[in-house]
């Protein structure tokens, strides 16, 4: 609709680059000898360059009548997903789990395509773009989850992911059709007009409310909020570990990215309704995720349930309005990505060396791989919110945002369940640092995996010790391209001065 090619390229450059990158990887894997792992390294390069492109492209704008939006918010989340992508590829280069099966090219290409879908999610400006980009991101993951072809659990994971995703997509799509039926539009921009039919109040028809709830339900699968979390543990456990890392961070980031833009731009007229629903989801996720995690003996399942709980913490900020809530969510997504991906990478090193993913296999890790044990401690404590690591600031800002809107009960639940979370995090730490090892052989893993873990450790520590620039970045990214009738002035990013 009137956009010229230069503008289109300007606004979609990172996404176009990913698309090209997927082909590049296939090409590289095809012509360069296998032993050089060309596909993996090319994919890492594609993601790194993509991240740089995000920071480099400063143009803001919308395309095609607003179904695609490129603004500070999309830029930060796109960069975040790409950073995760780079780390996951880096850890995959050495991943022995599926190296022998022979189709590495497709693995990296699919990973990039999935990342493409997830990055586009944060730019989705209409319910239809939301749906399509969600599918792009998820469909590739079916194949990736089943990539450990010799392991039946990997197949199980793929199938479960397929069924759950199809179900949630169906729910989402049905909700979209109801919303369209009620208001005659799928564009976020126009939804507020439909939601506020001249009355000035928050009046929504029954059809609209039902549609909205179904859309939220569909997205709740993506962000793994309880009670939509039942697939999480099986899928994270069965999928190749780098893919579990990707699912638990990039996929969740994208889910939140899509949900936040929809809620803030599209559905702010119905805020009372969705706040009630999300408060319930948040409380349930924190309680259920943390309690079920207590009973896990597999490290990957433990991390899966802990990530359900983390979704609950994030939702505290989602319901806490624009001023503090949005920035807090972005900040937490950023630091959560490094800590959680890092923890999965440690699980990968563990599986590569002991063939087991049980928490008990971590016994005496301090003696067998001191660096790895230290890294895991950093990740767990960050997830648990212990200073001076990044997670402390993240949790603080989440709770802060919650308290600013008067959600004291939710904050209290969050604070108390964090103590439960620390119990199982510390039980892992105890295995690594206090228990004696079962055997003495030191761990061996490729340099690329250590680099990926080291980056996660450094980021977790750096954000923790010097949170300010990262907070500023997050709060500067709360600027959403929005119609002028939004209650908050959309002209200025949130000012950081008191």
């Amino acid at each position: 609709m009137g956009a010229n090619w230069t503008e289109i390229i300007n606004l979609t450059l990172p996404h176009l680059w990913l698309l090209a990158g997927a082909l590049l990887v296939l090409l590289a894997e095809g012509i360069i000898p296998r032993r050089w792992n060309a596909g993996g390294w090319t994919a890492v390069g594609v993601f790194v360059i993509g991240t740089l492109l995000c920071t480099w492209s400063t143009a803001d704008g919308e395309l095609w009548g607003g179904i695609y939006v490129w603004d500070g918010y999309a830029r930060m989340l796109t960069a975040l997903v790409m950073m995760i992508g780079a780390l996951v590829c880096l850890s995959s280069v050495c991943c022995e789990e599926w190296q022998k099966t022979g189709d590495r090219g497709s693995y990296y290409a699919l990973l990039i395509l999935s990342a493409l879908g997830f990055t586009l999610l944060s730019s989705a400006g209409s319910l239809l773009t939301l749906y399509i980009t969600l599918e792009i991101g998820t469909v590739s993951l079916f194949a990736l989850a089943g990539h450990r072809k010799t392991d039946p659990r990997s197949g199980e994971a793929a199938l479960k992911l397929l069924i759950v995703s199809a179900t949630s997509s169906a729910i989402l799509l049905y909700g979209i059709s109801l919303v369209y039926g009620a208001y005659g539009t799928t564009l976020y921009h126009q939804l507020p007009v439909g939601l506020l039919p001249g009355t000035g109040g928050n009046q929504m028809g029954l059809l609209g409310v039902l549609g909205m709830l179904l859309v939220l339900g569909g997205l709740a699968f993506k962000i793994t909020a309880a009670p939509f979390h039942l697939w999480v543990a099986d899928v994270y456990q069965g999928a190749p570990t780098p893919i579990s890392a990707f699912l638990s961070t990039a996929s969740k980031t994208a889910g939140f990215a899509a949900m936040l833009r929809l809620l803030i731009i599209g559905l702010h007229g119905a805020e009372d309704t969705w706040v009630t629903v999300l408060v319930a989801l948040s409380a349930l996720s924190m309680v259920l995720g943390n309690l079920v995690a207590l009973a896990q003996s597999s490290l990957k399942r433990l991390l899966a349930y802990s990530s359900v709980a983390q979704a609950g913490y994030l939702l505290i900020a989602v319901v806490s309005g624009l001023d503090l809530g949005l920035g807090a969510t972005l900040f937490y997504l950023l630091l959560y990505a490094f800590a959680n991906a890092g923890a999965f990478f440690v699980a990968q090193a563990l599986m590569g060396n002991t063939g087991s993913e049980e928490i008990d296999a971590l016994r005496g890790l301090r003696y067998r791989a001191p660096g790895l044990a230290f890294a895991m401690l950093v990740f767990l404590l960050s997830l648990g919110g212990i200073p001076p690591l990044a997670g402390f600031w993240g949790k603080l800002y989440l709770f802060w945002a919650g308290a600013s809107e008067g959600h004291y009960t939710l904050v209290l639940i969050g604070a108390i369940t964090s103590v439960i979370a620390l119990y199982y995090y510390l039980m892992v730490a105890k295995r690594m640092f206090i228990d004696p090892p079962e055997e003495e052989t030191p761990f061996r893993f490729r340099l690329s995996l250590s680099v990926a873990i080291a980056i996660c450790v450094v980021m977790t520590a750096v954000i923790g010790l010097y949170p300010r620039p990262w907070l500023e970045w997050s709060y500067a990214s709360t600027f959403l391209t929005a119609p002028p009738d939004l209650p908050r002035s959309a002209e200025q990013p949130l000012s950081l001065s008191r």
Binding site: A403, I416, L426, R498
Partner: protein, 492 residues
């Protein structure tokens, strides 16, 4: 030199922290080097604390040695340090305990370097808590102190150490969860959106209802740390399992932090809430005194006796707070110091006895005084202070507390004083059973304390007697501090 005098409080945090980092650079087999480094660092903090006490202007009162640095401007968090008449005594207490604690840990051979590095890291947090007058930093330093504790108990502890370490850590974090929520509520309800305690005191006005809810949050949160019944169970397990220096630091200093938090955050910010809940606080404190004393009487493990006695003595501290008048508050804050020193001495002694006799079971001991007269004398000094015999710091503290509380809630004094009698019973029983009477077989070559082991005994024993004979050394500081708090409570 000018820089040092201006940043003396920062130095109490920085010296242990930097030493902790330096220790990490020393090769693990150079154990003596590490020990000397830790001793020097804790010695420096002790000197700084003494210097602070000498230069504290008693006539002026209020918060002194202030340092302020804007930190996260958006949030109203500032790195704001300062000490008042009460917290300066607690800084001094911390310095005494860590200085003697390092010497009490001299004989640790297993991963010496890691132990001392973690211990210094822990102390960094403890000092930070006492010198912060910004609620946020107060909380941050408190959280920093939690994790090293888990590892210190879990790795170097004795008995059911993993269980105890986990229990202690989780209880303390549960307490901090309540504190965090209360802290955020205070922040958002305050007109200027700040964590700065002096600013909050000057500007914040909370409604009666808010005060009642918030005070309860802080009381439970800090109370867990102070070992209030029935949330005290982490304390005996934790303190009995921890290595000597950690028990000393935790029972001696960190439990005081809970009581101090109730005073500084709860009572001074929320006076109406404090008045409202004072009867509850007092009642629970009395239960603490009696219940802790009876539990101590029933123990056969020497370390558990001391650990339960801490629960009982913390009851005296909390009772004094509930009394809310000049005398009871002075008594309560004095008890914080006196009990800190006393329990530090006790844990050091128990550590020594265990190290030499390899048992903590009271029933298997006897007649040790003959072989270890120095340890026996120190134990008796601690014991006398424990049940408040005149001439010891404990006497002054308990006498003032009970006298003060008499004026507010006489019945609490009637029952509370009975705790002193029970304390006398179990302390004398332990002294008699362990150090006197007939020595069982197999303890013929028990050595007395040696070289570095004397440090804790002599220093802490001397402090007990000094504060008992010349209580003004402390009460001069406490009076100004307490006066400030009473003004906030509307009692002056």
């Amino acid at each position: 030199m000018d820089w040092i005098t201006k940043h003396a409080l920062s130095l109490t945090i920085l010296v242990p922290f930097v030493t902790c980092l330096l220790i990490l650079l020393v090769p693990p087999e150079r154990k003596t080097v590490v020990r000397v480094m830790a001793a020097v660092a804790s010695g420096i903090t002790l000197l700084i604390s003494l210097w602070l006490c000498l230069n504290f202007d008693v006539a002026k009162g209020g918060i002194q040695f202030e340092e302020r640095l804007e930190w996260l401007p958006m949030t109203g968090v500032s790195y704001h340090l300062g000490v008042d008449g009460v917290s300066i005594t607690l800084v001094l207490l911390t310095a005494f305990i860590i200085f003697t604690g390092v010497f009490a840990s001299w004989t640790i051979e297993h991963r010496t370097k890691d132990f001392l590095a973690l211990l210094l890291f822990l102390v960094t947090g403890v000092f930070g808590v006492f010198v912060s007058v910004d609620l946020f930093f107060f909380f941050l330093f408190y959280e920093i102190a939690v994790l090293p504790m888990y590892l210190l108990i879990g790795i170097w502890g004795t008995g059911r150490k993993e269980y105890a370490a986990m229990k202690l850590t989780l209880y303390l974090l549960l307490g901090s969860a309540f504190i965090l929520v209360g802290m955020l509520a205070v922040y958002f309800l305050s007109p200027t959106k700040t964590f700065d305690i002096p600013e909050l005191l000057a500007t914040a006005k909370f409604t009666t209802e808010q005060q009642r809810i918030l005070f309860l949050l802080f009381y439970v949160g800090f109370g867990i740390l102070a070992g209030i019944w029935p949330l005290h169970t982490w304390s005996p397990d934790g303190h009995a399992s921890a290595p000597t220096a950690v028990s000393m630091l935790h029972a001696g200093v960190l439990m005081k932090l809970g009581a101090f938090g109730v005073l500084r955050v709860g009572m001074s910010l929320l006076p109406e809430g404090a008045q409202y809940w004072a009867p509850l606080m007092g009642t629970i404190a009395v239960i603490n005194i009696i219940y802790g004393a009876f539990s101590a009487m029933g123990q056969t493990d020497l370390k558990y006796v001391i650990a339960y006695s801490s629960v009982s003595h913390m009851g005296v501290v909390m009772l004094g707070l509930a009394g809310m008048n000049a005398i009871s508050l002075t008594g309560s804050t004095m008890q914080m110091f006196a009990h800190g020193i006393m329990t530090g001495l006790f844990f050091a002694l128990v550590g020594l006895v265990y190290e030499k006799s390899h048992t903590r079971d009271i029933l298997k001991m006897g007649g040790f005084a003959e072989k270890m007269p120095g340890i026996a004398v120190a134990f008796v000094i601690g014991g006398l202070s424990s049940f408040g015999l005149p001439g010891t710091g404990g006497f002054v503290a308990e006498f003032l507390t009970f006298w003060g509380v008499w004026q507010t809630y006489p019945w609490m004094t009637y029952i509370g004083v009975a705790g002193v009698v029970i304390t006398a019973t179990y302390v004398l029983r332990v002294v008699q059973k362990v150090f006197f009477g007939k020595r069982p077989e197999g303890y013929d070559d028990l050595p007395d304390a040696r070289t570095t082991e004397w440090v804790a005994l002599v220093v802490l024993g001397a402090v007990i007697i000094l504060t008992g004979v010349m209580p003004r050394l402390l009460t001069d500081f406490l009076n100004v501090g307490v006066h400030d708090y009473l003004r906030l409570l509307g009692k002056v």
